[in-house]
Symmetry: C2
């Protein structure tokens, strides 16, 4: 099913997804950041089972698969958070999971996969990226689930929008970390049905901004990423398959300097007492930009799976 | 008002307190710890404004003071979390706050006090402890508020019990960090009115267990504390003023080895993505003991204010 099928999903589809998602996910708390002069709340998806929003995505996919589809097992390619979520969702149905990973994936994520019984297959980053771009994981049995592009996965992510509006009907802006786009497109598609006009903001680091580059060029372009606190170096672009959604659904991209994201990381950990992935700190930094100070902003804390060493290293980056 | 006045407070008093407390505090999330074979949920008071449950306590006191009582300002003695909470509650009424602190208080807490405009007066630990025991802070104007013994403060803490039962009517055990006793007595007194029979469990480190010592001796006794990851060395005992409450309201004390508390700290931060004070990790460790595995346990994550250096140091204590 092409990602554009997301456009045809309606309110009932997102509500039905929420019922499925609740089998494995919590309703994550929406916490007032308590920052003077700001209406800014934190949607703490880092507190989900598996430590990230991906449990919504995986659950909404797996719960709709037939016994026949599940019979050969499930295969995915994931830098980390999708695969453990698939493993949790598949465990209900006693289905084995294989995961192709990039060699630079966080050790804590690989260890978690192995604890969940996932068969892990490492690849050089470029080879892994090719699997992500082509869905071709080579020979071997199993149904391939893409960590970003599955329509039912995006609908699962869109359940966040339902919860946001339950807790804060007045919100007017959602700030979302940008990885592959599955999170932001799911939330945006749901929000468009539920409360059109809510502004959907994607966030990137200035050193690694493929979505900004695609918007500037009018199409996905490959960019060279510098190494940042959030990611290793490499080339990356917006996935071709996701571009029609991203072009239509994202209202704005805020590009953040690395030092602001590092300060935001520290602030989330030490002032708000929430452990987050570096990617998530980028969104918090974006939410704090002056451009958004008059708005009612929910920022999605997408995940919290970070190595102890990376946590300590990131805390040490500022005084 | 002697602490025993707590025994005469009824359900209506706790409900009225909750209405006051909500002016400054959030309803903290109750998060399923997701541990197989356990019914264990985390009451995340570390996500409160000011980073601890003390905002409930301070708000319920300050909101009931008259203009005359507030006129001379407020004085307190606090190792940290009560004073910023008082400052926040007092800010609504533009009342100045002075705080006497022990010299070993966490730097992050002192810095936070100064940012809140609190006048900070440091003392050697023994002198500070005498202020805590006698309420005599020396010359100087202002109404003295005790961080532990104020009845209205304990009633404010008891609002946690109301929220716990709203979210989880079936719970049968509450595990609470033990500092001075204001938190556990407030929760216990409320629970006795709301759902008698819920087991109230206090937690201490084996290297610093004044409550266990008092229960063994039948009265408060001074013990020599070894230095632990949670506290510096020193002598300490249960406050005489609190003993009648603690003797009556606490059902059980679980004493935890330091290594278990350190492992629990690491687990809260890296698996649950919640930053907590060392004191709080002791309660999580206690909640994980085999003795409680068949029970429906809520553990109170009382606070999250920890120095970056202490956070990093505690994470380094285990592999």
């Amino acid at each position: 099913m092409p990602p554009e099928a997301l456009f045809s999903r309606d309110v009932h589809d997102f509500r039905a997804a929420l019922t499925r998602v609740q089998k494995n996910a919590i309703k994550s708390p929406l916490i007032d950041a308590g920052i003077a002069g700001r209406e800014l709340r934190l949607k703490a998806e880092n507190l989900q089972p598996g430590g990230a929003f991906k449990i919504r995505c995986a659950t909404n996919i797996v719960e709709q698969l037939s016994a026949g589809q599940l019979r050969g097992g499930i295969v995915t390619a994931s830098a980390g958070n999708f695969a453990p979520a698939v493993a949790m969702a598949a465990a209900r149905h006693r289905v084995p999971v294989t995961c192709h990973v990039p060699a630079n994936a966080a050790a804590v994520k690989l260890a978690a996969l192995e604890r969940l019984g996932v068969a892990v297959v490492p690849h050089p980053f470029e080879d892994w990226w090719r699997i992500m771009a082509t869905r071709d994981a080579g020979a071997g049995a199993g149904l391939f689930l893409h960590p970003v592009c599955e329509v039912d996965g995006m609908v699962g992510n869109g359940t966040i929008a339902l919860e946001l509006l339950q807790d804060w009907p007045e919100l007017d802006t959602v700030v979302v970390p940008f990885g592959g786009g599955g999170l932001i497109c799911g939330i945006a598609a749901a929000m468009r049905r539920l409360k059109p006009g809510v502004r959907i903001v994607a966030c990137e680091l200035d050193a690694a901004a493929p979505l900004r580059a695609a918007r500037d060029a009018g199409r996905p372009v490959r960019i060279a990423r510098r190494a940042t606190f959030a990611n290793g170096p490499g080339e990356q672009s917006v996935l071709d398959a996701m571009w029609p959604l991203l072009r239509d659904l994202v209202d704005e991209v805020i590009v953040v300097p690395e030092e602001d994201a590092v300060a935001a990381f520290r602030r989330l950990v030490l002032d708000h007492h929430l452990v987050v992935e570096a990617q998530t700190a980028i969104a918090f930094a974006a939410a704090l930009t002056p451009a958004l100070e008059d708005r009612k902003v929910a920022v999605i804390l997408s995940g919290g799976n970070i190595d102890r060493d990376a946590l300590v290293r990131n805390l040490a980056l500022t005084k």
